[in-house]
């Protein structure tokens, strides 16, 4: 085993230890478990955005739409179809992913700034649908009247509804599943191809790679992951509302990915942690927190474009 790969393993182990013990170290530091859960869910969303942005080089600025659809999918399932948490998560993932897959076919021929613009606009379509279809979605007041259900394993029950720590671990298991899938895909030949497209699309095309199809698959996968994260978000709040689909939410996700470091797998999670904690903290101490968050955006773009991880890695080298 080389030094580099053993270091990688140590880092990976450290990440999981930190995540596993979060409910125990957060409270003494002034945090609270619900915040850790939120970081995990939004981090998963940021990693899904980055699956496309960081590894295929395609900038979607409307990904919140799939996130929000996931939330509605989960909420509507719990409210109208079945009182089952796993089913709700699956339904949310399918709703977000399938809608993304369909619209993806319209998008894949565009690149760069145009891709971003069209994704924003299509994302807003879903925002308005959620906003206007109030008989189904509750409109601006949001979808309520559902709650995550305890997990029944036959032999024992896990009360994820009222015990914040148990719910955290439920989310962590879901998170591990999706992140594992992501890692697996990125290591596969398909994942290598994605990176090849990012590095040089023209060359990839000359090599006979069907670039459009690959981008569409990557986009669709990322929409499924996003829907999954959105479904978890609905469970966190026991609520779904249109703002989860709005383009400003997409902006937050992209920011998390960039701030953490979009060329690294774990960067977006770090970005989400910093972003969520910072926003939580700033908005408690000043009503003008928006200025500071805006300033953060500007500073990161100007001075840390490679993100926190990129910055550390470079200064190490």
């Amino acid at each position: 085993m080389t030094a580099a790969s053993s270091r990688k393993l140590i880092v990976l182990a450290a990440i999981w230890v930190v995540l596993l013990l979060a409910p125990y170290w957060m409270a003494p530091l002034g945090g609270y478990t619900a915040l850790a859960t939120r970081v995990l869910v939004l981090g998963l969303a940021a990693m899904s955005v980055n699956f496309l942005l960081g590894f295929t080089g395609v900038l979607s600025f409307g990904h919140a739409a799939w996130f929000g659809l996931g939330a509605y999918g989960a909420g509507l399932t719990l409210k109208y179809l079945a009182l089952s948490t796993p089913l709700a998560v699956i339904a949310g993932m399918l709703l977000g992913g399938l809608c993304g897959a369909i619209l993806g076919t319209l998008l894949v021929r565009r690149r760069g700034v145009y891709f971003a613009m069209v994704t924003i606009a299509f994302g807003q379509v879903f925002y308005y649908i959620a906003f206007q279809w109030s008989s189904l979605t509750g409109g601006d007041d949001g979808l309520r009247g559902f709650a995550r259900q305890p997990l029944d394993f036959g032999l024992f029950k896990l009360d994820i509804l009222s015990d914040a720590n148990i719910f955290y671990y439920f989310v962590l298991v879901c998170f591990a599943l999706v992140v594992g899938t992501m890692g697996f895909i990125l290591r596969s030949p398909f994942g290598r191809t994605m990176i090849a497209i990012r590095e040089n699309e023209r060359r990839a095309r000359f090599l006979g790679i069907p670039v459009e199809r690959h981008i569409w698959i990557a986009f669709t996968l990322s929409c499924f992951f996003m829907g999954f994260a959105g479904a978890l978000y609905a469970l966190v709040n026991n609520f779904a509302d249109p703002r989860g689909l709005h383009y400003s939410q997409s902006g937050d996700f992209v920011m998390m990915a960039v701030m953490g470091g979009m060329r690294s797998f774990w960067g977006p999670l770090l970005g989400a942690a910093v972003f969520v904690v910072l926003q939580d903290y700033l908005s408690s101490i000043t009503v003008n927190w928006m200025s500071f968050v805006g300033l953060l955006f500007i500073l990161v773009v100007l001075f840390f474009p490679r993100g926190l991880l990129g910055f550390f890695q470079r200064s190490k080298a």
Binding site: L29, A164, L278, T286
Partner: protein, 417 residues
């Protein structure tokens, strides 16, 4: 913890964060009020301090802070000082819920107040009833808060939309006629106001048409064109905040004010201030008004608020004030912080005149926990004398009369075993 500072050291590790935090502390005055004494009792207030409701939300904060100051001067709650922790819900349900959890789980607040946005208020109520924390909805108006979604631990200071609509509907019918056109924002609040109005109108044998307008619509001409085609006697403008300002401005610019009356439920002082003189018209309800000659304590409260904000006290200032005062009064009366006990005591609790600041002593109705506050029906006009004298109360309607019966609200109160 004991000093009232809120330790949060994780993010201090990054240079950026602490830089921002220091800058934040220097540039802006933090909303946290540190009270003297050892173990303060904490009250959490969640309101949309940024976004479209920022003005009215910050109005509630001013009132709440003033109440805290007063209470701490006179001995606090159970001899302990109180501390108000204000959190911004950013007009977002997820954020509002998260902030509520944070206040309850980490900051260990004894009470929760908020939110201006009814959707957030109801989502917060899910959390507060799960955690068994006494919760006062200061300024979210939709009926379900004390109706179908009512809860043993949730009380409301501001009126239900039905109360406002019931109070003014008969006045509008008497003065202008029974043919109405609604300009209604297309979400739960708007639907519920329109439904209340239609009920009264139908009973009186009137007719109506209407447009459901998407929230945040900047241009109302299409809707006003339809309104004019319907040729109503009254245009009922249910729009809120900036939407109401824009729609009224355009209503006047189109000269429609010369062809039909305009009115509705809320036209808050904050909104009247935001329109030019020409659009300061129509018949509306105020849920509290600063100019009540002959009613004790009102002038003092108004003067105190004026010292802070520079303007007359608004209904929102009073909502924040009354919410905090209610909590202090009931806790001191019952000598406990136990939420179920306090909630039982609050059911039917009468606000004393120095807190009610209106004729009579309104009470929190036992059946639905709605404060039976007077509805001030009156007329908006350009300033007369005082720059904030832009509304004249014509007909104060007692809360019980406006509210209808508890059965009508659809509230079935469930108490914890």
């Amino acid at each position: 913890m004991a000093t009232g500072n809120r330790p949060w050291s994780v993010n201090r590790r990054t240079i950026l964060t602490s830089g921002a935090a220091i800058a934040a502390a220097q540039i802006t005055s933090p909303f946290i009020i540190t009270a003297r004494g050892e173990t303060p009792i904490r009250i959490g207030l969640v309101d949309p301090l940024t976004g479209v409701y920022a003005a009215i939300a910050q109005g509630e904060v001013v009132g709440a802070k003033y109440a805290v100051e007063e209470i701490n001067k006179s001995g606090g709650i159970l001899g302990r000082p109180i501390e108000l922790l204000v959190e911004d819900s950013a007009n977002d349900v997820g954020t509002g819920v998260q902030k509520t959890r944070k206040l309850i789980e980490r900051d260990q607040v004894s009470f929760i107040i908020g939110d201006v946005n009814s959707g957030i208020a109801i989502a917060m109520a899910q959390v507060t009833s799960e955690k068994k924390v006494l919760h006062i909805v200061s300024g979210g108006h939709t009926d379900p808060v004390t109706g179908t979604s009512c809860s043993w631990n949730v009380f409301r200071v501001c009126n239900a939309t039905a109360m406002d609509a019931n109070a003014i509907a008969s006045t509008l019918i008497e003065k202008f006629g029974k043919k109405w056109y609604f300009l209604t924002p297309d979400y739960a609040y708007g639907h519920s106001v329109q439904a209340s109005f239609e009920k009264v109108l139908k009973a009186a044998g009137g007719t109506s048409g209407g447009s459901l307008v998407p929230l945040g619509t900047p241009d109302y001409s299409s809707y006003l064109i339809q309104a004019k085609a319907y040729n109503p006697q009254v245009l009922i403008n249910v729009m809120g905040g900036g939407d109401q300002v824009a729609s009224l401005k355009q209503f006047v610019q189109f000269g429609l004010d010369k062809q039909m009356a305009v009115g509705g439920t809320l036209f808050e002082l904050e909104s009247i201030r935001a329109v030019p003189d020409a659009a300061r018209i129509g018949w509306w309800t105020m849920e509290w008004w600063w100019d009540q000659p002959g009613v004790p304590h009102v002038a003092e409260f108004n003067a105190a608020i004026k010292k802070i904000t520079g303007g007359a006290a608004t209904a929102r200032n009073w909502f924040g004030y009354a919410s905090v005062q209610t909590l202090a009064l009931i806790a001191n009366q019952e000598k406990t912080l136990d939420a179920p006990k306090l909630a039982r005591a609050l059911s039917g609790f009468k606000l004393p005149p120095q807190i009610a600041l209106q004729p009579g002593s309104p009470s929190y109705r036992a059946g639905d926990h709605e404060l039976m506050s007077t509805v001030f029906v009156g007329e908006a006009h350009p300033p007369q004398g005082d720059p904030d004298n832009m509304f004249t109360v014509r007909n104060p309607v007692p809360g019980e009369k406006a509210a209808g019966s508890v059965e009508e609200t659809g509230c079935k109160m469930q108490w914890p075993a």
